[in-house]
């Protein structure tokens, strides 16, 4: 009898586990598009028939469009600002020699560990006290707070493999600091920048709690959806919206991965003789 290789025992069991795990992960998500095409107000089996009515309703819902537009505005502002600030911070951290660098990284990621509801309330207090007022801008500022740690983490991991002598070589070859950034640093960090933009955009897009406290009358999409849940007849429309978001974010993740793989490897190659 052929014996299993030393570390191969139990592989079959692991395969079953992996399959169950994936099912657990994706079946709930896949129910969303399934019911969004179901010809019934009620979210229950058995399915009653195929319809695209909910999509048509969604397309006609101008309140939803306004909320979507708000979310896109906030997401764009939050992802751009957190990525720019994150890049500056990551650049400084990656260069090394900074006193208290690890303490700084810890402090910036602290907002991730504060319950969002606490963060939302404290931001509300702050924004009111400072007289900024509740608006999309205050939401974007709140999102900047939670997006920044993600941006720093993504960009820092990209910059850690960065050979500092590449920038020195550019200076040596006659470029000033600014042109060195554009001709060397930026193209090499670009995949990290794209990842950071996508990730922070999704974090902002996803956020309910902070937006709920800070958005005032300009609702973002998650806040709008939460409001709609009170009306049973709006539920299938929300499912259609959810499915669309699923499709778009799936597409974004695909693009992000593609950019990441298309990016140039930064780690210095092992140098071999010819």
């Amino acid at each position: 009898m052929k014996r299993a290789e030393p570390f191969d025992e139990g592989v079959r069991g692991l395969r079953v586990y992996a399959f169950l795990y994936l099912a657990f992960l994706y079946i709930p998500v896949l129910l969303l598009p399934l019911f969004s095409f179901n010809n019934s107000l009620f979210i229950a089996f058995p399915l009653t028939g195929f319809t695209t009515r909910w999509y048509a309703e969604m397309a006609a819902d101008s309140e939803m469009h306004a909320a979507l537009l708000n979310t896109l505005k906030v997401g764009t502002l939050a992802s751009l600002s957190s990525t720019i600030l994150g890049l500056l911070a990551a650049k400084a951290l990656a260069r090394g020699g900074l006193k208290g660098a690890s303490a700084f990284i810890g402090l910036t990621s602290l907002p991730l560990f504060i319950p969002e509801i606490v963060l939302g309330i404290s931001l509300l207090v702050l924004v009111t006290a400072m007289g900024i007022g509740l608006s999309l801008l205050s939401v974007a500022i709140g999102h900047l707070l939670v997006c920044l740690p993600f941006a720093i983490a993504v960009l820092l991991s990209r910059l850690e493999g960065f050979d500092a002598s590449l920038e020195e070589a550019s200076r040596d070859l006659g470029e000033n600091g600014w042109m060195t950034f554009w001709r060397v640093t930026f193209p090499l960090v670009l995949p990290g920048i794209v990842s950071s933009l996508l990730l922070t955009f999704i974090v902002s897009f996803d956020d309910f709690m902070i937006a709920f406290f800070l958005c005032g009358t300009d609702t973002t999409l998650p806040v709008y959806i939460f409001g709609e849940l009170r009306f049973p007849n709006k539920l299938p429309g929300v499912l259609a919206l959810g499915s669309t978001i699923l499709l778009v974010s799936g597409g974004l993740v695909f693009v992000a991965e593609w950019v990441r793989h298309a990016g140039v490897r930064l780690k210095p190659h092992r140098i071999i003789g010819r």
């Binding site: 002598s165 550019s170 070859l173 006659g174 490897r265 140098i271 003789g273 010819r274």
Partner: protein, 361 residues
């Protein structure tokens, strides 16, 4: 301006935290000279090179090229270019764009740029490599691209930071030959950093031997090998037998000495050696300066072979003599030496001028 002080380093110091990486170094490098900074890692040679290139500023002192002070200029405003130890080939650009990188900031028109890139690709024997990416290059090819990228800028001084360190031995030797030919042909001043003494001897017009941020000796390769000025230099460049000897008399530039190893002998006194009758000096002899024989000869010293290492082109013997162990090497000429075995009695002799007298540390 030409001559000795084309590149002038005056009293330069650099501190990192509490360590003095470069300690009041001054040196003058001539136009078209191949000058090496040689020393073990941590001796400050790379720090000095980086200060010449503008990647780091000295705490004290000044650096001038052709009489113009460049001490505080950033790298992009200096007439120097650098070949980095890691080569620093831009991974997002192909060979053509890597080499042409530095021409864009100069505003060289496209057509001239392409022509110059083509010329330099021919110079480094990488014609037809223009479209290749950095990842597709071998170590030796990267090294050439890094060299070409710096040379196309027509620098007054080319700085090289251990550029051959990452290559395997055979390739390194081939690149040494090419590098030397290239430098002789282009007549550009090279400042070359290395920890490999053979490489430094082979390539350089002059070498500065460094240790702990200071220069121990600056000399041409032959002087450095034949007349080191200190025990440290003697032992860093090649192998050296060093032992104590007492001065018994001085006559006409020669010292008469006595030591347990060599017995009574005479050796030339060079400038800078402080000798007086009764003082103790160090006597240093290279392993290959000994001649080794089974036959007794006048003034030869008797020893016994303790170990033999066969190195192909030569044999290296450890010989016990006068209570010390000497390293003696003999070219592999066949004949009697090949038959020597551990434990054999041998006689060592050497010419008086093979002995280098050094001050005690």
């Amino acid at each position: 301006m030409s001559g000795e002080n084309f590149l002038s380093v005056q009293n330069v110091s650099k501190r990192f935290g509490t360590t003095l990486a470069v300690d009041r170094i001054s040196l003058q490098i001539g136009k078209g000279e191949f000058f090496s900074l040689l020393g073990p890692s941590g001796c400050g040679k790379t720090t000095l090179l980086r200060m010449i290139g503008g990647f780091s500023f000295p705490d004290e002192g000044s650096i001038a090229i052709e009489g113009a002070d460049v001490t505080w200029l950033p790298p992009n405003e200096r007439p120097t270019n650098m070949v980095f130890q890691s080569y620093a080939i831009f991974p997002h650009l192909n060979v053509h764009d890597n080499i042409g990188y530095g021409l864009r900031s100069e505003g060289v028109p496209q057509a001239e740029r392409d022509a110059r890139i083509k010329d330099v690709l021919r110079l480094i024997k990488l014609e037809g490599y223009g479209e290749r990416r950095a990842q597709e290059l071998s170590g030796g090819e990267r090294q050439r691209v890094a060299l070409a990228r710096a040379l196309i800028k027509r620098p007054k001084v080319l700085l090289l930071d251990e550029p051959l360190g990452a290559l395997d031995k055979r390739l390194r030797e081939a690149m040494q030959v090419e590098l030397r030919e290239l430098q002789r042909e282009l007549k550009i001043t090279f400042v070359f950093v290395t920890h490999d003494q053979e490489e430094a001897l082979f390539l350089s017009d002059r070498i500065a031997v460094m240790e702990k941020g200071r220069i121990l000796q600056i000399a041409d390769p032959k002087t450095l090998y034949e007349q080191p000025n200190s025990r440290k230099v003697a032992e860093f460049i090649g192998t050296m037998n060093v032992f104590e000897a007492r001065v018994t008399g001085i006559k006409a530039g020669n010292a008469r000495l006595a030591s347990p190893v060599l017995g009574e002998f005479t050796a030339p006194l060079r400038a800078g050696v402080n000798a007086a009758a009764g003082t103790t000096l160090l006597a240093a002899i290279r392993p290959e300066k000994f001649s080794l024989s089974r036959e007794m000869s006048p003034r030869a010293i008797k020893g016994r072979i303790a170990a033999i290492a066969y190195l192909g082109d030569r044999d290296q013997f450890r010989v016990m003599a006068g209570g010390s162990t000497l390293t003696v090497s003999a070219h592999n000429l066949g004949g009697a030496n090949s038959a020597l075995c551990v434990g054999d009695a041998v006689y060592l002799s050497c010419a008086p001028d093979a002995v280098v007298l050094l001050n005690q540390d």
